[in-house]
């Protein structure tokens, strides 16, 4: 029983990560009807941004910005090199990484997706593939192809739970932050004017424009939001499992997309649910069946869901209009 509970906990921790990334997918798809293949790679960039930030923007960053290693950036931000591991530091790193990736998301949308918006969805999809490849290979060139080791941002402890299962404090942090971010997202989308505009755009772009909504700005905002969440996921994953490399986003991104579809694409609580379900199922398959089929699990779920309930678990069945 304890093994089962443990595996369940493992699954939920994994699922939280998928949920965070799935949220970005679902939002962008809802607004643009575009599967942003590059989303998983934004997650990777977020992890790397966190890496460079945490290592003390200090010497290297200051050099890149043309300042001396003792400059404002080095000392002011993170003490340049040695930092006090604590939860606060972790949060700061995460928030900064989120901000950077939000900007990157907006840039990608502006340069690569907006010009092809007038073309068919196929073209946009292929462009997304192109951006994804660019980020991956560019990452290999810029960051270096070897995996990097993410520094420990706060001390981790094992917390023992009932019947022999234990949970790591890092997992707890990840879960809490993920939950907080998801609640924040719900609030933004359902309680603010911008959120209302986002929902309007996702219903019908043309009508939203007619209503006076600046659709370009809303779309950019959506991308920024989604990318920020992906970056948060990246930093959180790096805290849990300290190894990062430029190709880490590919498979995770695909599975997160499956999670979004599972929950009902365009549906925010659905993305959260989908992520958790995929995380748990994957862990259970690895633990009880065979780890070799782990990657097949997500895709198998995808196929089943698309065959039997294409609108997803929480999605509404859309009638096809001619």
């Amino acid at each position: 029983m304890s093994t089962f509970l443990q595996q369940l906990i493992n699954g939920i921790s994994l699922g939280a990560i998928y949920s965070l990334i799935a949220l970005g997918y679902t939002m962008v798809y809802g607004v643009l009807k575009l599967i942003n293949f590059a989303h998983g790679d934004v997650y990777m960039v977020g992890a790397f941004m966190g890496y460079y930030l945490a290592n003390g923007l200090g010497a290297r960053g200051a050099q890149m910005l043309g300042m001396s290693a003792d400059g404002f950036v080095a000392r002011g931000l993170l003490g340049g090199g040695t930092l006090e591991p604590s939860l606060i530091t972790a949060l700061v790193v995460m928030l900064l990484a989120m901000a950077i990736c939000a900007a990157i998301g907006v840039v990608i949308e502006r340069l690569a997706y907006r010009p092809v918006r007038k073309y068919s969805r196929l073209t946009a999809l292929i462009t997304a593939i192109g951006v994804s490849l660019l980020l991956e290979n560019g990452g290999q060139v810029v960051f270096g192809a070897e995996p990097k080791f993410f520094p420990e941002l706060f001390r981790k402890r094992n917390i023992d739970l009932v019947s022999g299962a234990s949970i790591n404090s890092a997992d707890v942090v990840v879960l809490i932050i993920a939950l907080a971010l998801m609640i924040a997202l719900q609030l933004i989308v359902y309680r603010t004017k911008t959120g209302r505009a986002m929902r309007a755009v996702s219903f019908n772009l043309q009508s939203a424009k007619l209503m006076g909504i600046n659709t370009d700005r809303i779309i950019a905002f959506t991308f920024a939001l989604g990318s920020a969440l992906a970056a948060a996921a990246g930093v959180l994953v790096a805290i849990r499992i300290p190894r990062i490399d430029p190709l880490m986003g590919i498979l995770v991104g695909l599975k997160a997309f499956v999670a979004a579809v599972l929950g009902g694409i365009g549906n925010i609580p659905g993305a959260m649910l989908g992520g958790l379900l995929i995380g748990i199922t994957e862990t259970m398959v690895v633990g009880y069946l065979s780890p070799t089929y782990k990657d097949a699990v997500a895709f198998a779920i995808l196929i089943l869901i698309l065959l039997f309930r294409p609108s997803g678990l929480l999605g509404t069945v859309a009638q096809e209009k001619v």
Partner: protein
Amino acid sequence: MPRYLRNLIIGLVVIAVLYGLDFVFQAGLINPYYTRILMLCGISITLAVSLNLINGFTGQFSIGHAGFMAVGAYSSAYFSINYGMNIANSMGGGKLGWVIALLLTTLVGAAVAGLAGLAVGIPSLRLRGDYLAIVTLGFGQIIVVFLNNIEAVGGARGYSGIPIVKSFFWIFLIAVLTIVIVYNIVNSAFGRALISIREDELAAEAMGVNTTRYKVMAFVISSAMAGAGGVLLAHFDGYLNPKSFEFIKSFEILIMIILGGLGSIVGSVIGAIVLTILPESLRGFAEYRMVIYSLLLIILMITRPQGLLGSADAFKGLRKRLRRLTEGPSGTASSPTQSETSIGGENPR
């Protein structure tokens, strides 16, 4: 001149040309490095044209092509190692034995891949656009995961010991066959049904076209040909590894047909050739090769999404000239018109 006779003569001429070229290459008159690149082009052509049937002409966005390549490659490899060698030797080890063995192994590969296409197509082709893309991607991935775990074909360690057949004639024969098959399909009633599905599936369905049946048929044919391409790959280096069939491979072929133009056979051929040679030419830039590649793709999509040749079929001009040659100026003309694909145009849906 009756049609079938004309086609027969063209066929014989093509075979003679291929045979002649094969002789030239076998004699080592041309640098083996270039020969290798040319043969890889041939394989790419097979793969690209077969993908174009389903993506370009039927408008179904499938990105799991590498999976069918893998199925064809591995099944034919298994056949070759376990049965092919016996067949080849049983005929006295002569050339005939080899030809028959090769023929059989290609048929096996194509057939198994076609079956896989059936298995994947039936459930998936109900879906549209983006969803179909992801499902086919998923199937491709699942195939790779399974191959990694089947010890009988080497699993993750790879499958070696496949008899090596580096035959220009064979590779280009298959490539030409693929082109001919796709061309004939496209210019037939079957093809018209496919194009109608591409243009507006609902309307086609309303007009009485059994869209699911046609889509699945096209899918099966396309996967069978991809399987043939896989057979060629398997026997090229004599070694297979599941890693070579991940989705990046599907993307590479997709990019070839995008570059060439989705509804154009000639375009796919050109796209295949260009994108097989390009990595070789960029060898000097080693590190930045893939970065340049991806940038090119993005720029291509932004500036000219219909690719080099769009969906215009340059064969049209050739055919007209041929017809005039053999039928005289009073021959019947019946070239179907091709419309622009929805790539590059507003999607009403």
